[in-house]
Symmetry: C2
Subunit: 463 residues, 2 copies
């Protein structure tokens, strides 16, 4: 072994070339994430070109007892890439879409491939990779798999977990785990793939993946509808699912709080009807038949039942895009003021209305002037709840956060539906996750990363 005691980074420069070991100004692009809450001050950002170089970086890091933090598009929301003095491994040079295989219905991609590039590549074959969310132009494969990112069409296509058939992972000891299955079914031993998906880089670095593609719907039918209540919204969803043979691609709950904030911040996005207490955004995708009639008939039936109060059905693609824009403005209109307590909870489908009602009652006790903003992937029971308290004291924000968690967990909910844990929810994990489950996670982490060098301190709270 060479003597790198002078500067441990020299070994990495020898390995990758000096241009791909970034420090100072060049490494500063990851210094602050886009929420503004989380910071990274890495020793260096490494830019390996292939899986072999990633593995070599991991082995070198072990020799120098350095921690490793993988980074993709850095669009996460939970501080998953925050660090001080770690080696960040950026997958950005490993962005190839190696193959689209239409007959097999798969894409083989490197971990640095950008989500919207995968969309474009699939589209050339009249296929889709269904996962989509606002940050699709920046988010990379390794990141959306490591966080098991959600999005707006999980209701039809399932979570990211279900869209990934195979993985390649560099482990803490520098070995390469080859799980690059292209199969719909594989029962050859433990399901390691799903262990690495959602592990936020704490068990290894995802370097490549096999993704499942779906036929592209040829016909879309979208609407914005004011509904009488949350249960009425869920009944409308079931009505639409039955009438469209499960073709509901998005069913997004946008109540008064959301539509009012949208009106304030995005007056350019004209709203088709006056404010109601409850509204939903609907998109149907038909493979072989137009679904406008199905959508209009379901809305008419629901209106007759008193469940739908007003509705605007998109008459063309521009109107459909307009409706989507109203939904996708969520990130931009949410993080507009401080103090803020944001959450990403999931409830059983029959527990959403009760959660919101109890949360609002208890919030009125804690902070009568606090405002809330809610937008939800209603078909998945996934609620993005933002509270704007009237006071910025840390204990006050904590009390609100704890109340939201308590109401959620008491109703069988999860304190992280799709954003993950990172650093931001460690205390929540301590308080709310089954202690036996935490012990099992710790045992697995210790077994696969005994020196605790893979994204240390994330996901699992200290025991």
């Amino acid at each position: 072994m060479k003597d790198h005691s002078a500067d441990p980074l020299d070994a990495f420069r020898d390995l990758l070339g000096a241009a791909h070991v970034q420090t100072g100004e060049a490494a500063a692009r990851f210094a602050t994430d886009w929420t503004g809450k989380w910071h990274a001050a890495p020793l260096a950002v490494l830019r390996p070109a292939n899986t072999g170089e990633v593995a070599a970086c991991v082995r070198l890091a072990a020799e120098h007892a350095l921690a490793i933090v993988p980074v993709g598009g850095n669009t996460g929301l939970v501080g998953g890439t925050a660090n001080r003095g770690a080696l960040m491994i950026s997958l950005e040079r490993m962005a190839a879409i190696r193959a689209i295989r239409p007959e097999a219905g798969i894409a083989v991609v490197e971990a640095g491939a950008i989500l919207s590039d995968i969309h474009a590549a699939a589209s050339e074959h009249d296929l889709i990779f269904p996962l989509t969310f606002g940050a699709r132009g920046s988010a990379r494969v390794g990141g959306f798999l490591s966080t098991n990112a959600g999005g707006s069409n999980v209701v039809r296509y399932g979570s990211t977990r279900g869209l990934c058939l195979g993985l390649e992972v560099v482990l803490a000891d520098g070995c390469v785990l080859d799980l690059m299955s292209e199969l719909r079914k594989d029962n050859s031993g433990y399901d390691l793939r799903d262990l690495f998906i959602g592990a936020e880089g704490t068990l290894g670095i995802i370097t490549a993946a096999v993704l499942r593609l779906s036929p592209r719907p040829r016909h879309h039918a979208a609407a914005l509808a004011a509904v009488e209540s949350l249960p009425a919204a869920l009944r409308l969803l079931r009505r639409l699912q039955a009438a469209s043979e499960g073709a509901v691609e998005a069913f997004e709950y946008m109540p008064r709080s959301y539509m009012a904030a949208l009106a304030r911040h995005r007056p350019d996005l004209r709203q088709p009807f006056a404010l109601h207490d409850h509204a939903v955004m609907i998109d149907l995708g038909g493979l072989s038949r137009p679904l406008d009639d199905v959508l209009e008939a379901a809305l008419a039936e629901a209106a007759e039942a008193g469940e739908v109060l007003d509705a605007m059905v998109a008459q063309n693609e521009a109107q459909r895009a307009h409706i989507w824009e109203m939904r996708e403005a969520a990130a931009e209109i949410t993080f507009t003021r401080l103090p803020i307590v944001d959450s990403d909870v999931a409830l059983p489908l029959d527990g959403v209305a009760g959660f919101i009602a109890e949360m609002e009652t208890r919030l009125a006790d804690l902070d009568p002037g606090a405002e809330t903003l809610i937008v939800a992937h209603l078909g998945d029971g996934n609620i993005h709840l933002t509270v704007y308290p009237t006071r910025d004291a840390a204990d006050h924000l904590d009390a609100i956060r704890e109340m939201v968690e308590a109401v959620c967990v008491a109703r069988g909910g999860s304190i992280s539906a799709e954003h993950g844990i990172g650093l931001s929810k460690l205390a929540t994990m301590s308080r709310r996750k089954d202690p036996v489950a935490l012990d099992v996670m710790r045992a697995i982490k210790a077994a696969l990363d005994p020196e605790n060098r893979m994204n240390p301190g994330k996901v699992i709270p200290e025991g």
Copy 2:
């Protein structure tokens, strides 16, 4: 602690009552599994009544350094419950369907609940639990989850893994892991659920589960069709998926070898047309609309393209049941003679035809007189291939088995699609699974079951 040195089973009798610690004749019902290949000679069969008793059994077993083998309906095919001198824990007394919650779309069940009982309970609410296979009248929740059992409608509803939202597991140390989530999305730490699903009882004992239900299709359309080739069958599948909006519930490949065996063994099951080289069984399930027209139109288009050579569309439910019976006779017509080399492989969808062609060529070299029987869940790329060699020598059977594995793995396939590993495929795992993956499995097994007492010797070959 009492002195149980005289008979370690006394402690279990104290715990469960003597009637629920079965030995001798009473325990003999698990002595031979239904393949006839695998045998169990347990020290006793324990019949706990609830999760607390399961946990107490596991702790007592630890005190006495006894191995534990959980058993459900014992309908597995890979020797997963075979043992000598272990404590078998039967979940048969924990058979309750605790709740069906239609608004949430879930069933909460105990691990001993029988699959067909879950079907019946869901049906009362106009819902289905989609998983189904021949042994549904005996198979129990703990078994079908521990093996991640497949079946005929994975093509529409996904694998068992995807149909399970939550789990309760008794771990090797007797702790109870509560993962009883009712949620569509949950990103709160590592995906432990999927680690226990498919682990065949080697990491813990599943005691309860939350299952995902789906709306019951109101309209079915089924057919048997002779097709020109395997690629023509896959084109017909895509045609049907598009035309029906993804309503294909089953698409089963039944080539000449299968239909001929069916004619020999089940002459009562009248076949609607003469033998062709390739046939498929089709079932569509429509939530809101009859799909007979869709099916007939797709078959007519395919016939015009020369891809479908003959077809019989079921005109009523009796004819549909008849078509299903032809498919479900598979187990009964497969295990009719010896010697036999059976396999359960999965291929990428675009690799099925190539696999079969190469396998047949190489088999003709190894054993020119050997016959094959093939039936496949074609939509999943899952092929049940049975070879009947002309000689019974162990090395000859091994050579055939190795050849099938080699052709499968070289084409990106898996050596176990849906039946699991158990004891029957340990050698195959050694030879064919990524060695790094095996090491990761061993590390996880050692971390969660350090004394190797949970179904020891299954799934993971010795290092």
